[in-house]
Amino acid sequence: MSSKSVNVKSYWLVWAALIILLLLTWGVAEFDLGILNPVVALVIAFIKMSLVILFFMHVKYNSPLTRVFAAAGFVWFLIMVTLTMSDYLSRGLVRPTNKAISFWQYGPPQIPPGDYPGGVNPSGLQQQPAVGKQQTGK
């Protein structure tokens, strides 16, 4: 077996560390650290995850190939978060370029009430006050 026999004591130590981290994240949540609150909570969660993966799941003692497989899922998840949030965080920063074309093709847009994610109207046009019941020509 590639996973060597691990000292039982080390499992108990890891467990104690996990419980201490749990109490820590519980306690810290009661204090106002501003933007640091979610950061601290996630850093502690990440440390707990690393402890479980390295020691309980034996990745520390496994072959490099297993380590790559173990990391793959999490790396891909981070790629998904990065790409998705680069969209959501940058919405409203970029001016739509097809404004004129869209107006020429479809006329004034019918804007349903309600807000859009990111506060940006997907049609790329400013919301206009409704002037009567205006039907768009097709």
């Binding site: 749990l22 949540a29 609150n37 979610p38 969660a45 034996h58 899922g73 999490f74 998904m80 949030m85």
Partner: protein
């Protein structure tokens, strides 16, 4: 005979070590798909928390912090029993391996019991989105609770599956199907169990600890 029980090497493998490595890699591949499975929900959580931070702060206040913390401790401890069960199997201590597996299952059932109590309380407080949803002080709070029920529900389903898997493993271990030469199935199902633990490690701060200080 049980002390030296060893599964045969399948013909597609060079040797027994390679066979065990392959099954371990297979489990990690499955866990990668599980990361993506839960990842979709975590992604939705990130997007909506970014859009409606107020709703998430208010929603999180309505969750039960005591039950959440208790359940985290229960799951972390059941992970410890699981690791000890694998360790016992790898050193040919069959009896203690079975005991540790049963402890893992017991703690998993405890987790579900606490979760059930919490769900009952949530339902009484009308926190289930729908016609009877009690609208708290901020708009869009129902989005938080959609995610709360979906994520904890899906995680609970995984706990349930874990209990079934570990029950079979515990039964096989009791029958002497594993030894220090062959305990791969215990190890593999242990990986699954620790993964369920990891998901909860992230659900706990994301659902219960949002802006608690406010």
């Amino acid at each position: 005979m049980p002390e030296t029980f060893k599964a045969p090497t399948e013909e597609q493998f060079e040797n027994f070590e390679q066979q065990e490595e392959a099954s371990r890699l297979g489990m990690w591949t499955f866990l990668a798909t599980e990361v993506m499975f839960f990842g979709g929900m975590f992604m939705a959580y990130i997007v909506y928390r970014h859009e409606y931070p107020q709703a998430f702060a208010v929603g999180s206040k309505h969750t039960d912090l005591f039950y959440g913390t208790l359940n985290t401790a229960i799951l972390l401890t059941s992970s410890l029993w699981m690791a000890l069960a694998v360790n016992a199997a790898s050193t040919n201590r069959r009896k203690s391996s079975v005991v540790f597996l049963l402890l893992t299952i017991l703690f998993a059932l405890g987790f579900l019991a606490v979760k059930g109590l919490e769900y009952t309380e949530d339902l009484r407080e009308r926190l289930l989105p729908g016609p009877h949803f009690l609208v708290p002080e901020a708009p869009k709070t129902d989005i938080f609770f959609f995610l709360y029920w979906a994520m904890t529900g899906l995680h609970g389903l995984h706990v349930l599956i874990g209990i079934c898997v570990l029950s079979v493993i515990a039964f096989l271990a009791h029958r002497g199907k594993f030894s220090s030469e062959y305990y791969n199935p215990i190890e593999i199902s242990g990986l699954y169990w620790h993964f369920v633990d990891i998901v909860w490690i992230f659900l706990y701060p994301l659902l219960y600890l949002v802006d608690r200080h406010l």
